[in-house]
């Protein structure tokens, strides 16, 4: 079973990387691009078979290590 953890900077925390990507896209002619936020996706392969337990475990991991709750938020998705 897989857990996909998406980690993003919290709203309101300056994201210079996202800003730079947005700037570059605008320069490439993608004028429709406004705000850009860059984050990361962490894919976990778990031995767990129960999706609920897998989600609980992945959220625990995210809070303890994968995300820094001072500046980041996360979201966990479970897939088979």
């Amino acid at each position: 079973m897989k857990a996909i953890v998406t980690v993003m900077l919290k709203d309101g925390v300056l994201d210079p990387q996202g800003k730079a990507i947005g700037h570059a896209l605008n320069n490439l002619g993608f004028a429709q691009v406004g705000d850009v936020r860059a984050g990361k996706i962490i894919e976990l392969t778990l031995s767990e078979t129960d999706p609920v337990a897998a989600k609980v475990a992945a959220e625990d991991m995210a809070q303890k290590l994968l995300a820094n709750m001072v500046i980041e938020s996360f979201k966990v998705e479970i897939s088979a």
Partner: protein, 220 residues
């Protein structure tokens, strides 16, 4: 003389610089502590040097903050022990919750390696007694993630309670909130800062601006 240990995580790379600076002021080499050790008894000062602990691959300092030795450092801090974290060491201290806030990527998204200048916000701590209050001194910096951030309430508290240790005096190159370069814990026994005073303790290397920090600790 403070009994001193330097933590060594895989990927740390300024432990030798730090040991040289400590030995020069203390007249005694610090103990080097491997990250899997958990016994810090008998030590007064724990130093976490710079580098790229665990490659800084998830976030700077995040994985080191979870290592066995950091549990022991938390215990050490809780009983009033002294802790100095420089660069990656500062990042490890914020990641482990021993200091507030976080270090984000530099505002310009590039690694910054040059001398910066720091102003000494107070000289009544164990770390700064050999500086003057308001003194501006030079220190090399070398980091990709030194952009100090915290929520406004935390920043206000740091400033209000005199917990800002150093600010960037000339140019705030990495974009740190309120030009903060280093902060203390509320008891002023934990100090984290981004620049490297340990790399400027010898006239041959361009100056001794960083030496008073180690002399302060040696005099404690």
């Amino acid at each position: 003389m403070l009994a001193t240990g330097i933590l060594l995580f895989p990927g740390i790379n300024r432990e030798r610089d730090m040991a040289i600076a400590v030995e020069q002021s203390f007249g005694r080499a610090p103990r080097v502590i491997w990250h899997k050790e958990t016994d810090l008894s008998g030590l007064d000062l724990i130093i976490i040097p710079g580098g790229f602990s665990f490659g800084d691959y998830l976030r700077c300092g995040a994985m080191a903050a979870q290592s066995p030795v950091m549990q022991a450092v938390k215990t050490h801090a809780a009983r009033g022990g002294y802790v100095l974290g420089v660069c990656n060491g500062f990042q490890i201290l914020t990641e482990s919750g021993l200091l507030p806030g976080a270090l984000l990527r530099n505002a310009g998204l590039r690694f910054l390696s040059m001398d910066t200048t720091l102003s000494v916000e107070r000289n009544d701590t164990i770390f700064t007694s050999h500086y003057q209050k308001g003194q501006v001194f030079r220190a090399p910096m070398a980091h990709g993630d030194g952009n100090y951030t915290a929520d406004p309430a935390t920043l206000d508290r740091l400033e209000g309670e005199g917990l800002v240790a150093f600010r960037y005096a000339d140019e705030n190159r990495n974009g740190s909130a309120r030009a903060i370069a280093g902060i203390y814990s509320p008891n002023h026994r934990i100090l984290g800062l981004m620049p490297h005073p340990e790399d400027l303790v010898d006239p041959l290397m361009g100056g001794t601006d960083g030496k008073p920090l180690f002399d302060s600790l040696a005099a404690a």
